[in-house]
Symmetry: C2
Subunit: 136 residues, 2 copies
Amino acid sequence: MNIGEAAARSGLPPKTIRYYEEIGLVNPARDTNGYRAFRESDVHKLSFLERARALGFTIGDCRALLSLWEDDSRASADVKAIAREHLAEIDAKISSLRQMRKTLDDLIGKCAGDDRPECPIIERFAHGAEPVTETR
Amino acid sequence: MNIGEAAARSGLPPKTIRYYEEIGLVNPARDTNGYRAFRESDVHKLSFLERARALGFTIGDCRALLSLWEDDSRASADVKAIAREHLAEIDAKISSLRQMRKTLDDLIGKCAGDDRPECPIIERFAHGAEPVTETR
DNA sequence: CTTGACCTTCCAGTTACTGGAAACCCTAGG
DNA sequence: CCTAGGGTTTCCAGTAACTGGAAGGTCAAG
């Protein structure tokens, strides 16, 4: 099958599939005309990548996960370890975003949002402030 | 003052300050020896940038915020609009991360994490699954 | 035989820096 | 006066993971 169909079936854009080939994640055969010829196994792999990426795993993680997938003698502990590390990163991102969100929301609430120039948001950037955490 | 001191006072690495100059966010004077000569106003601007970036505003947003800061006849509504849009993006990211987190956490909970190959995480990537949202 | 949809490669751009190399400048110590 | 160090300069390259676009080859339909 051509790249268009592989794209439709894996959920990845053709551009991305070409990129994945370039970095060695997939290795489709070639027709005599030079077109990539995807087998079922290639599509399966691409779908695997699509799902792992959708959960936020990096390409590096995906590479490791793929090789574990193909390793019949893998230990699920190895997979779990990768997933745990990723979960920790997600948690870190969420908490950083939540802190931002809190501060920002607070500032937005204090800003009149009218045609006058006074603005606590700009003030904050201009002069800094103690963390919002100062509850009493 | 030289870039080192400007860096110490603004909280930004020298590299970043040079980058900000390159993209036109700051424009420090130069000494006869070619060294950048930062005035108080430059440091103030750099600190502004550091704080806005810490809240996750893009460089583009920062550019807009800076020019509003310098505009005495600004309307706080314009600042607020930028902040609101950014807040919406943060919310979108948080909810996307939360969805990932939930799915991932669920899978991790189901994985034995021992030396056997069976692994719900890998299975999920290999065969997909309905969203976890299917409560009942 | 032409048209339009696909496909190919290659180059560039995105975001916001960061690392490193080669070389210049300045100051303090000997 | 020389040197050693630390700070500074510019420039080039790399990061993550694609994405857009140009120029051109291929294929099936009409």
